[in-house]
Subunit: 193 residues, 2 copies
Amino acid sequence: MTTGEKLIEAAASLLDSGGESAVTLRAVGLAAGLSHNAPYKHFASRNALLAAVAAVSFEELAKAANAIRTSSRPPAQKMSEAIALFVDYSRQRPARYRLLFNNPETAAAGGELKARAMETFEEFRAIVQECQEAGVLPDAPSQALASLIFASAHGLLTMEANGQMHPEKGLSNVGASMELLLGLLSPGRTSGK
Amino acid sequence: MTTGEKLIEAAASLLDSGGESAVTLRAVGLAAGLSHNAPYKHFASRNALLAAVAAVSFEELAKAANAIRTSSRPPAQKMSEAIALFVDYSRQRPARYRLLFNNPETAAAGGELKARAMETFEEFRAIVQECQEAGVLPDAPSQALASLIFASAHGLLTMEANGQMHPEKGLSNVGASMELLLGLLSPGRTSGK
DNA sequence: CCCCTTAGGTTGACATCGTCAACTTAGCCT
DNA sequence: AGGCTAAGTTGACGATGTCAACCTAAGGGG
């Protein structure tokens, strides 16, 4: 493992355990067994290091999503699993999730990072398309429908992470809300009221 | 205007003009014509000041949403206007929007802040309920459906702010995506495919 | 009327952080 | 052998959140 990778791993570990504010260049250098300024020999700035963490994280996510898409399970189940992938990620590594999907500075880093993000999204879009072809999701441009479904999950997860979800007032946790959405979107649904 | 309010206003102004990192306690004090440490006489910490900014911002939003809800326009139009309210807010004051809906530290401030946030959401929920009664939104617990619709808009706006939206690839801007959602949710829709 | 409390404000200091500059090596190319 | 460069170190600087000590004016009870 190169020193650069060691630094990225140390940063990711600090991010997961202590939140973004714990990712101090000094602490990262120390955790990698180097001096307080060593990260500058590999990354131009703190943001550049965080962008690198985001890039490898997107890569992991894309890989996991790809495994789901290329499995032999029915499309509807792939969709559930893909959603669960993001839900679990948000709950198990909230700071990392925020870095990936909720951080304008990271997003501004462009280039390779944006490519990895689009790679991840493309897997999700393909699953949506499979569902459309199987008739469990309505006809519409798959890109738009995938954006919509992903954004819904993303918005719900953000609200959950912010404590703006109120499960006591009836059904409004993330999982149930997504089932509601998919149910309402289902072409087979009988027109209500 | 009390000194505390002056500080909140100064902080809000700095937030809107220079992003969250521009909201420095020193700068806020200076902007209010006071010394670098004056904010501590009114707020326990930087986060407490930001929470106060969030509280008054939620109040403004709730007021605007209330004006929409109590207007005499048809429910479907109220819904469009309510969505536009959040869309415009996100685009015109992105840093403030992030503070309100994308900031776990702010959300952790609990108490009055959470009450204001719920007040705002309640206006939105009531509009959703009107739409359901008018038959333009499907039958479902209004709380859950409102969460879902709001989360969709929120997720789309977050992606837009992060540059993770790709309008070049077909329909995927926020407005069009929300229209797609509302269209697909519409009880009158003919079952696709 | 005087003293004492206290809210609001000030100055100064401290630790931490991102970042920059200068110096030192160890390895590699010629 | 000589020197270039990547990788690493130390030391410093300015900005920032926060704490502590001091000041001061308003007001209320004796």
